[in-house]
Point group: C2
């Protein structure tokens, strides 16, 4: 027997209406590419987003049409986040850190019909515009440069015309937004987020143990808006009337700290490298940066080293560890601590905080090994498989990837983890980044995190390199802190207090920088390639 | 184009699994009818609920079958809350404060097949058992009294048998629970809550501005579990691993304060009369009750008088005002304050807190008048119409009530309210309780709340009584505080500083108690009946 409840869909239109009508005075602070700050609010945002929605429909946008964006984090991108799906379209946020030919490939794969772009990014578009077929390009003009013939001015769309706009009928399972994976594991693969997924994700993101967002928050969206819906923060903040601060293209620590201190930011979400730079800046200039309110640092994208928790704690910034993927909208696991753990001593508690945490409500996880599910013993590792209402069931138009889902429909994340008796997940590696040594698995991530706790080490990246006897052995690429010194033997000795001898890297290389992917993660494939022919006869374990 | 997300249903089984697997050690504190306290946890709860689910299926319970409960708030009722819907059934919580013949009527209307009942309530069942047709009665035994022939022992069900239990396939729109309205407005009408509604309601209930529930909370569920799913608190707490305290049948202030102080309760949900009694007890015995943690008081069911906020504030209890209905699972409006309002001076801020608050995310409201929607001016009142994913679209098997929904599908709540420019709703009356005086409406609720701010007044209830000239005029029924004195003229003078002369009650009666409904609300119909022949010639405005 069915319930007698209303058939009321979970769509982003309800969030747009709520933000505009109940929080019209709540500020949206936006930094332009030239560094200037502009101030708007949800009232203006609401009118402009609806104007843009109406304008897109006048342009001929039909339900399900893809509208691409190439923009930094600012007010116009926020308007676009809501305008496109609320007009029935699908917003395809293009990752502007990909190579031009990669961007062209995903545009063509997604069959993007329109593009909304920052004028400062037009030179990037010029590098692949002949390879794609946008029907219309709408330009957000931050500079006085004239429009190219045929291009349209964003402001003409946002300024008016939506007074009588009416939302089309939208099913909650219709697509609202679209992202492609960053390509660390092969060709980019697309995911289409439904309205339902983004709404449910907003509720989960808001929870006390996750981002804990309410009216009194000011959310700094550091994570680029072209990276998995900016982790859903713009949607969650709008639903709950939280103030938003959008930093434009300025990702250096000083610019971010300026915004955090001046705007009274209470929550900021970004990848560990950003937070490491912020910690460096805070330590370099003691007393310079004064926070008026307690700050929570949402850290995700890759695992933050344990040392980062300690360093930010000292400045009153509480790290909230989040784990997610493009394929899960992105939130899967969050690191809130159970009350009894908060009573543990410093180091033991820190170890729990450095774990990824517990699955979010309605995300189900299991750790799969060749012989079945791993027990919750904190030691046995297995690949995380995941399911839930905001987890992808397939990639967009890519049947070749079917084996990323188990026969019973769970998504295979490619992350290897343990689960302890308290239900806390700890990622130990990517399946592909495990060092397979003599039939045993060595976690490159654990070695890296421990190395990054050494005072001389700024960054560490461990990869498995082919070895004639052991199949693979670990090589550690190290970037030292400015002015610091350390030898491979010293670091090996340091690691030996934490790891078995067979797990220690047999080779150390010292670099100025570690190669990175477009989203700032270590590009391990580049290191594996560079050192593929390593001469192990000179190493500790030959 | 559809999203590529998983088709993962929102059902209570996911909450049950989460509570059992991630929070097995979190305590459930339960008071039996004899006052004794027992301690369990979500681990045991999980096994026992699954055992009961398996047992119900063995008994022949089929998907959609109604299972009634007649129980106080305790661990077995909590197990039943999950076991019945997770086995595919629909839990019909019977309001044991109704008259026996009323209970029999809703049992028959709902076609309840099984009953789970506290042994201490068997005498109540005996009063209507011959009028209903339960196939099986399962008894929760709190006393050593033997089972009646044919009745089953709850413990036999909960103790084992669910080890291999598998959830049936449940659609998120399937019914999970069922309540009837309390009958203040005519015959009880049934609502069937879907799994989807209860899950979404749990997410909303958890929000920072609403109940703000997380791992570190201890939730005292004062509101009876037979009253609209105990406002969803048991589901929300289980989803988030919050500790639960269930007070059994002891609703006196001393028993509740014992639990609150001894168990470190952080959130307690109950009706204003309960909180008024708690405030009385706190004032009577200064220093006796020491709270170890800050306490939030979830207050709903009827509007708390403004004075209650002040009185509880003094003891460090923060009132969270919630408005809801049987027809909305129940949460519709919550009273979180926008940050700018928190900066207002005491009295002005208090007036905002005493309003019902803003609609919860995904609840849509409009205030309808004969001439269309009321503006958000804080003055013009209209009937609240509501829609959302956890709002009823119809009553169960009762097509005669169709006019409770507007032609475009909004639920007509029967509550009359204003909405101010900040989006805060203030209920001014029930449509049927407005005093219709000479073509104007007078709000009985505003008069009552102001009267209850007078130091001599314990309770006040205002009703419209037929009047030869004005159609109706207000009569105020007053219960004075112990030892206090006041005359009608004095109270009239007191009111005159807040209301226009035409709004003042022309008659005052002083009573020992005000008649109440089964859920503790004033029974205005009884007063209207009692004073229907009032002789207005002796009154102030004849």
């Amino acid at each position: 027997m069915r319930g007698t409840m209303m058939d009321y869909p979970l769509t982003l239109t309800t969030i747009l209406e709520r933000a505009g009508k109940f929080f019209p005075d709540v500020e949206i602070v936006s930094r332009a590419p030239d560094g200037s700050i502009s101030r708007s609010n949800y009232g203006a945002f609401y009118r402009r987003a609806r104007n843009l929605a109406a304008g897109l429909q006048r342009l001929g946008m039909k339900p399900g049409d893809r509208v691409a964006s190439m923009m930094w984090n600012h007010a116009a991108h926020l308007e676009t986040f809501f305008a496109v799906p609320c007009a029935g379209g699908i917003l395809h946020t293009l990752n502007i850190r990909l190579q031009p030919q990669e961007i062209a490939a995903v545009v063509n794969h997604a069959r993007d019909r329109f593009l909304i772009i920052d004028d400062v990014l037009l030179p990037l578009l010029a590098q692949f515009r002949d390879k794609v077929d946008f029907e219309r390009v709408i330009v957000v003009r931050h500079t006085p440069a004239p429009l190219a013939p045929g291009d349209l001015d964003y402001e003409e769309f946002a300024r008016g015309g939506g007074e009588d706009f009416r939302y089309p009928k939208i099913d909650e399972n219709d697509g609202a937004a679209m992202s492609f994976t960053s390509g660390t594991t092969g060709a980019p693969k697309g995911v289409v987020y439904s309205h339902r997924a983004l709404v449910l994700h907003s509720f989960v993101c808001a929870l006390k143990e996750i981002c804990n967002i309410g009216y009194d928050d000011t959310v700094l969206v550091i994570v680029p808006m072209f990276h998995v819906n900016a982790w859903g923060l713009p949607f969650t903040a709008a639903m709950l009337g939280a103030r938003q601060v959008l930093p434009g293209p300025r990702y250096d620590a000083v610019s971010l700290l300026e915004l955090m201190t001046r705007e009274g930011v209470t929550l900021a979400g970004g990848v560990p490298t950003i937070w490491l730079a912020i910690a460096d800046e805070l330590e370099k200039n003691p007393g310079k940066w004064q926070f008026t309110k307690p700050v929570r640092a949402g850290v995700g994208g890759s695992a933050p080293p344990m040392e980062l928790f300690r360093r930010l704690d000292r400045h009153g910034i509480e790290v909230k560890h989040l784990w997610g993927m493009t394929e899960s909208s992105p939130l899967g696991i969050a690191g809130g601590l159970k009350p009894q753990i908060r009573a543990w001593d410093g180091q033991r508690q820190l170890e729990m905080r450095a774990k990824q945490g517990m699955p979010a409500p309605f995300v189900e996880l299991r750790l799969m090994r060749p012989d079945g599910e791993a027990p919750w013993d904190g030691e046995t590792s297995g690949e995380i498989e995941m399911r839930g209402p905001w987890v992808a069931a397939s990639y967009y138009d890519d049947p070749s990837q079917k084996d990323r889902w188990s026969p019973d429909g769970w998504f295979r994340t490619g992350d290897v983890a343990t689960m302890d008796a308290d239900g806390y997940v700890k990622i130990v590696d990517r399946v592909k980044d495990l060092v397979k040594s003599g039939g045993e698995w060595i976690s490159s991530v654990e070695l890296e995190n421990t190395l990054m706790g050494h005072p001389a080490v700024k960054e560490a990246c461990v990869v498995g390199i082919p070895h004639p006897k052991w199949s693979e052995r670990p090589l550690a690429a190290i970037v030292l802190r400015d002015g610091a010194t350390a030898t491979g033997d010293e670091l090996r000795g340091y690691l030996a207090t934490y790891f078995g001898k067979w797990q220690l890297p047999d080779a150390f290389v010292f670099l100025d920088t570690i190669p990175r992917t477009s989203v700032g993660k270590f590009k391990k494939s580049a290191l594996r390639e560079r050192y593929a022919g390593w001469d192990w006869t000179k190493s500790a374990r030959s």
